[in-house]
């Protein structure tokens, strides 16, 4: 999903970050807020992420893959199943980037994949590039 006009401004970006690890949530949130000045909504589980996606309608979702109960794949399926969340672009952030069945996720419409550990100073740029956002 390419965002073209109103949401092009960096300050207006609203990102939902779903990760079960508190440390990672905090670091990513800090990175994107302090360096990219985006608004970051966090969710610590798949259920919470799905709910917040529906209620908060973020510009994009950055999703961890390895999570208990609802993993990345199930999250995507559920997201696609909700009409109100179906069009929200998703970028994966995973420590298993190299062993993941990327094809499966690509078929589910993900926009990009960023491996852990990532460079916190350029993370926002990688996300923007994946989403075709102008940084």
């Amino acid at each position: 999903m390419i965002d073209s006009s109103a949401k092009n401004s960096l300050t207006t970006r609203r990102i939902l970050f779903v990760d079960d690890e508190f440390d990672v949530r905090r670091v990513v949130q800090t990175c994107l807020e302090k360096i990219a000045h985006w608004t970051v909504i966090v969710a610590e589980s798949g259920e919470e992420g799905l709910r917040k996606a529906r209620t908060e309608q973020p510009d994009a979702i950055v999703l961890d893959v390895m999570m208990p109960i609802i993993d990345g794949s199930q999250f995507l399926s559920a997201l696609l199943a909700q009409p109100e969340t179906r069009s929200i672009p998703v970028v994966l952030l995973t420590a298993k980037a190299d062993s993941l069945d990327i094809k499966q996720y690509e078929e589910m419409g993900i926009k990009g994949l960023i491996g852990k550990p990532f460079n916190p100073l350029t993370l926002h740029q990688e996300i923007a590039t994946a989403l075709n956002w102008v940084v």
């Binding site: 670091v27 800090t30 302090k34 420590a95 062993s99 852990k116 550990p117 990532f118 460079n119």
Partner: protein
């Protein structure tokens, strides 16, 4: 024929003439009459019926009748029924001659020669008969004698010929001659090549001395005698003391010693030489008969017998000689055959040994191969099994008999054979190949196997087949999988806290969360740098594990080497500048077959190393050149160099030349190992060359695209 007297009357002239001629005839008749009457031959006149009309005295005697009794009797009465008178024909005008057997009135038989002249008078035929009984008897006697001699001679010859042994032949000869001739002594004297000789065989009556083995003095048997005898002289001496015999005095003295009165000597002549061809007569010896009691006149038959037996001895000698030669030949041939036989036996022996050794070796081979828990086989170039060990039975449930001669596809099934085929073809092209495969055992279990095919080449380098070794690596594979999983899990588990740590430090370092004291910033810097290294290490470990586990499939495509070189140089330019190192890339247009990402990773890794280990002001070169079917890339630096004993080791994990130095440079100890894996996955080679103090060159090859 009775004399008739008659008176002759005178008449006319003509009549006178007639009277004269009649008178002449009468006077002639008178003259002939006694001649006929007393002729030796029987003369008779017979009439047309064959009855006697007249007969002379000899005829009367022949038929044993007086003339009166004879006249009127038919001739037929006197012809022996078995005598064959059919030839006598009174009806013909031809003169007939022939023989008849007559039987006279006293039943005395006589053989006669007859001549019948028909019609000497009207109805009177002249029959002349001559008694030939005695002559015929004499001839028959002679024939009989001759037959006896022939029989005798045959008998002796037969006896002689019954043996092939010369000694026995000679003994038989003297014994037989002595018996037949009733001589007192018969001997054979052999003339030796040096002119001397001795008695070699003798038959002598008991009351006379033996002269066996005796050598005759030379004066008794001088050289000139040799010549004469060689020419066939035969001497028959009736009385040795008779001067007419012409014996020398010394010879007479010599024979007197043995009381010899008469002697008969015939030569034994030989005309065969050693190579079997004929040669002039040579005197071999003498056959001698002695009469000791009294002088003896030797008759022709005795002479003849002796001569013939001497000839027989000659033949026997020739035969003996031939036999001897034959025996020699046989001996030589036998020796040759024995040699051949010996060598044949040796050969057979050798072969048996070789076969036994082969059998033993085969048994040992079988013993060894059967004891090993791996599949061992030999497959011919028709892809048929020619040898397999017992493990085939244990694994596949197929007996050696089922497998021997069977095709690979038959043994392994179509699907498995499809996976094997490429490697089988390679092996049959003469290449040693090793690969991994998945097989299903007889019990249904799946096993991972490591398979090696080693081609079998003959002297002409023709592939006759290949040796196949298949080992079960399922356990190893399971361990590898566990290791891979472990590394994977550990690495991922490390990544999560690292991500937080790394990110937190980075954000702190930006100062956006507040400023730190100088010491604080320094500590933060150390933490950041160490975290960076830890991140690289985890990334490298994962890279290496992925490549080694075979999870990475190189996406090889056609690329220009120049593009890689430019990209890699660009990527490393910033680092070079940071290290104040000049990076020079000399791009070369070479089409290579490679996975772009991985080759770039390898190139940047090598360049990164070169820059890291250079001192400011140095230059790092990236060059490429075309080799045979390959492109050779080189990264050269002017650093401190690598000791020769480290040139190979540095490609192994965590084998830096100086690990503390490497750590200072931020190395993980896995970069070169990853490079080597990447290059090897591409079918290339990587190596290092270095001169201490003058820098190092890292080179690798990649296959170039064939036209």
């Amino acid at each position: 024929m009775a004399p008739r007297s008659s008176h002759q009357p005178a008449s006319t002239q003509k009549g006178k003439n007639k009277i004269r001629s009649a008178s002449t005839r009468r006077s002639r008749k008178r003259l002939l009459q006694p001649l006929l009457e007393y002729a030796q031959d029987a003369i008779a006149l017979v009439d047309d019926a064959g009855c006697f009309l007249d007969a002379n005295l000899a005829a009367c005697q022949l038929f044993g009748l007086s003339r009166q009794a004879l006249l009127g009797r038919p001739l037929l009465d006197f012809i022996d029924a078995g005598g064959g008178h059919e030839g006598l024909n009174l009806q013909t005008s031809q003169r007939q001659i022939g023989e008849l057997r007559l039987v006279n009135s006293r039943h005395v038989f006589s053989e006669v020669e007859y001549s019948l002249t028909p019609a000497v008078l009207p109805h009177g035929h002249l029959l002349v008969l001559r008694d030939i009984s005695r002559r015929k008897a004499a001839i028959e006697d002679e024939l009989q004698r001759q037959r006896q001699r022939v029989e005798l001679f045959s008998e002796v010859t037969l006896k002689i010929r019954q043996s092939l042994q010369l000694k026995e032949i000679l003994h038989t000869t003297v014994t037989e001659v002595q018996r037949i001739l009733r001589a007192d002594r018969v001997l054979i004297y052999q003339v030796l090549p040096n002119g001397t000789g001795k008695t070699i065989s003798e038959a002598v009556l008991p009351n006379y001395p033996t002269i066996l083995d005796m050598e005759f003095p030379e004066e008794v048997f001088p050289e000139e005698y040799h010549q004469l005898y060689a020419q066939g002289r035969v001497r028959a001496i009736t009385d040795v003391h008779n001067p007419a015999a012409g014996l020398s005095e010394c010879l007479v003295d010599f024979v007197d010693q043995f009381d010899i009165k008469a002697k008969l000597i015939v030569p034994i002549v030989q005309n065969l030489n050693h190579n079997g061809s004929t040669s002039p007569n040579q005197l071999w010896g003498l056959l001698i008969a002695h009469q000791c009691r009294n002088p003896r006149h030797w008759v022709d038959f005795e002479l003849e017998l002796m001569q013939q037996l001497a000839d027989q001895i000659s033949i026997a000698l020739a035969q003996a000689q031939l036999l001897e030669r034959l025996e020699e030949i046989v001996e030589v041939r036998t020796a040759e055959l024995q040699d051949v036989n010996r060598s044949l036996k040796q050969e057979i022996n050798d072969r048996e040994h070789a076969e036994a050794a082969l059998r033993q070796s085969e048994e040992q081979l079988r013993l060894i191969t059967n004891a090993l828990p791996v599949l061992i086989a030999y497959v011919d170039n028709q892809q048929q099994y020619r040898f397999n060990n017992n493990a085939y039975f244990d694994w596949l449930g197929k007996s050696p008999g089922e497998i021997y001669g069977a095709h690979l596809q038959h043994v392994w099934g179509a699907a498995c054979y499809q996976r094997m085929r490429f490697y089988v073809d390679s092996a049959l092209s003469g290449h040693t190949v090793t690969y991994e495969n998945e097989i299903t055992l007889a019990n249904g279990n799946q096993r991972s196997v490591d398979v090696t095919y080693v081609p079998h080449l003959d002297d002409q380098n023709t592939v006759k087949g290949f040796f196949a070794l298949t080992s079960d690596i399922s356990d190893r594979k399971a361990i590898e999988r566990m290791k891979d999983e472990f590394i994977s899990v550990v690495s991922h588990e490390l990544r999560t806290p690292l991500t937080s740590l790394h990110s937190a430090l980075k954000i702190l370092a930006t100062g956006r969360l507040g400023s730190l004291s100088t010491d604080g910033q320094q500590m933060l810097g150390i933490a950041d740098e160490s975290t960076e290294r830890l991140v690289r290490l985890v990334n490298n470990v994962l890279d290496l594990q992925r490549i080694e586990s075979g999870k990475v499939i190189m996406d090889r495509q056609a690329h220009n080497a120049a593009d890689f070189m430019v990209q890699a140089a660009e990527a490393m330019q910033a680092m070079a500048q940071q290290h104040e190192v000049t990076l020079i890339a000399q791009p070369q247009d070479l089409m290579i077959w490679a996975d772009a990402d991985y080759i770039l990773q390898a190139l940047t890794n090598l360049l990164s190393n070169a820059i890291k280990f250079s001192t400011p002001g140095d230059t790092v070169w990236l060059t490429a050149e075309a080799g045979q079917d390959e492109a050779i890339f080189r990264v050269r630096d002017e650093g401190q160099g690598i000791p020769a004993d480290h040139l190979e080791r540095i490609f192994e994990r965590f084998q830096q030349v100086d690990s503390s130095d490497s750590r200072k440079k931020g190395g993980t100890g896995l970069g070169l190992t990853i490079c080597r894996k990447i290059i090897e996955q591409h079918g290339g080679r990587i190596w290092a060359e270095s001169t201490l103090g003058h820098g190092s060159t890292f080179s690798f090859t990649l296959p170039t695209l064939k036209e």
